[in-house]
Symmetry: C2
């Protein structure tokens, strides 16, 4: 039962907080008690983090649709069985080319990068990477036979009215896979501090074994009645701890706090409106659209010359179809490479690991990392409410921009 | 060699005509001779249909990247072999779960609908369907070992400077597959009139064998020097005809001509601008974005209550990243169901096939097809130039809109 822990997990990453601007917060129960509150992303979050009842209904309905056994029973009158999703734990999924390994704790799937998953430079886009992370996390849960058990909640979580919500995601791309590349994607879960859970991923090239992408995400528990974050009860820890692996896809130092930008930032895109095609099956703007909005705020000439090598997302609030969104972006002053002539004067300030392996200082400067801080927020009456904060790190493309 | 015919085919569907507004038409050779002109989409197209030299360069580069053998040779210095694409004909592609069947003329691939490929109603979107059609067509070509041979041109085509361009696409959805559904997709080519080629597709559910999607597309030859459409030389017909199957995914009557709309149409969306993420590997706005623009012009309440059951696209001109696009849309007056009360007075006008199988007149009206005509055009100086004309057919959703 402990492998129920990852259940619904990535689902929640796209849906975890409801948009009060569009939803009005009606129907939610709130509690003013703070005895069980926890700190996430450096701030105590209570009311702003709300998992809507609609989410639960929505997922429940999809679970019902997806829970037919591998060998489908004869269709009932007026109903067609169209699924091939196990309700019991499976170790092999031939159609998805997936395996459960390491005694059930690690999921591995083989995929090929498709023609429509690459951008103008013929490599997979960050959006594709995020899509594949979501897909493999959900498939991991499916193969555990647990997608129908209540959003991955363990018995102890159900007893305590707890559900999972995602608070943070960090994706590092070492190399973007190219069109037609065969990928092996691994995902697993682990502990995160006293009250959280991690889900990590590794994406490798089948031919070379090279790691292309490393990713980690953090999940916390929320009381679905009070809509407030919760500590992890000892009872629940006892259930899920045996399924955790102490293996980190990314060796992170202490989490750097992402500062909150205001509208004095260098780049501001206002009046961004979700389209119907931006909504996922939970009727919220999907995670990939968030990243698209963030990146489109950067100037085109920058995007042509640079490649995104890392993105960190701190989720605050979900965005619904009727919200109007503002995307704000600010470069780190000390991360912007010196403009104009590259002279030796700049040499001493270069980090040794940046210089190492490069033939010249000019090469090293080409690789100089450039960092940006991002904020997506929505208008709620006279003020703004944060949807997600972001940090991106870029490196200069080593080839001519097409 | 004849199976070279489908080569690059779907590629071209996304790139076949250059945007004169953004590209200025420089560098193209044009001929005023009309001896070899053909009629496409009911009109003789000459100068407006231009395949750019950049396209060729672009695809050539991608072909070079993709042409490593199944068993990769040791990487050359400074170069990594990351592909797993056959350069010789294969009958099985284990990673894509694909087979070449019927003596090499039919390609079949098994796929699972992914979590991010479904919309708010948890069924695959039309965009997903179009993506999968593109993917399987390209994979068919890859498995033929011909992706590196010059855009699918046969020896006779190369001798005559001919390439393939797509002129029309028709997709009929009988049922949208749902999240997690296992699909078998078949694709093959056939003749189309005297000078064209068809590529057809069938998408079926693995469990039920039901047909979900039928699609057909039409391709013609263009002289890559004069940029003008060309008749199919007898020499080329002799090469490719043996690979054609006389099997139609859709039994079409004579192609209905799509009328050209003007700005007096009911719905007009102007100033649509492609984003960087809308560009495909050929640096043009991709086919899926066209359809998104078309559909987003329809009112939201209509989209909530109706499901797209058929789309026909007639391609005229490609759209580049700097173009400003207008999407125009007009409902067929006689296809809009009667508003207000449904009375028996309307009965006699219902088509028998619509009534057949329904329990009541109200049910029948629920299924009344609704048709729209579409036009995407771009501003080129003072006038507009057509990108694509479209026709969509809709049916009322049988379930409550979420």
């Amino acid at each position: 039962m402990a492998s129920a822990s990852p259940c619904s997990i990535y689902c929640s990453s796209r849906v975890f907080v409801r948009c009060s601007a569009s939803e009005g917060g009606q129907g939610y129960h709130r509690s003013s008690s703070s005895s069980n509150a926890v700190r996430v992303n450096g701030a105590a979050h209570r009311a702003p983090l709300q998992v809507g009842a609609a989410l639960e209904t929505s997922i429940s309905r999809s679970l019902a649709e997806l829970s037919s056994p591998v060998l489908p029973p004869p269709p009932a009158a007026g109903e067609r069985v169209r699924q091939n999703i196990p309700t019991e734990k499976q170790t092999v999924d031939p159609f998805r080319q997936a395996l459960i390994v390491e005694g059930g704790v690690r999921y591995q799937q083989t995929l090929v990068v498709r023609s429509y998953e690459v951008g103008p430079d013929k490599t997979a886009t960050m959006e594709t990477v995020l899509n594949l992370l979501q897909e493999t996390a959900l498939n991991h849960v499916w193969m555990s036979g647990l997608l129908g058990d209540g959003f991955g909640a363990t018995h102890g979580m159900i007893k305590n009215d707890l559900i999972w919500v995602v608070s943070r995601m960090h994706v590092q791309v070492e190399q973007y896979p190219i069109w037609g590349e065969v990928l092996d994607i691994d995902t697993w879960v682990g502990s995160s501090g006293k009250n959280g859970m991690r889900r990590d991923w590794l994406i490798r090239g089948r031919n070379s074994g090279d790691v292309f992408v490393r990713a980690t995400s953090t999940w916390v528990m929320m009381n679905k009645v009070t809509r407030r974050l919760s500590k992890m009860p000892e009872e629940v820890r006892g259930e899920i701890a045996p399924w955790f692996i102490d293996r980190h896809a990314i060796q992170e130092e202490a989490n750097e706090k992402i500062i909150k930008l205001d509208s004095n930032a260098k780049y501001v895109d206002s009046d961004l409106k979700p389209k119907r095609s931006d909504l996922d099956m939970n009727h919220h703007v999907n995670n990939v659209k968030y990243v698209r909005w963030m990146l489109e705020t950067l100037p085109d000439h920058f995007l042509q010359q640079h490649q995104l090598s890392s993105i960190i997302l701190e989720y605050r609030k979900e965005c619904g179809s009727s919200d109007v969104v503002q995307s704000i972006c600010q470069p780190d002053e000390d991360s912007v490479p010196p403009e104009g002539n590259v002279s030796m004067v700049n040499g001493p300030s270069l980090l040794p690991e940046i210089i190492s392996g490069h033939h010249s200082l000019a090469d090293a400067l080409q690789q100089w990392p450039t960092k940006y801080t991002h904020l997506l927020q929505l208008k709620a009456g006279d003020k703004h409410e944060e949807i997600v904060r972001g940090r991106t790190t870029w490196k200069k493309k080593s080839y001519k921009a097409p």
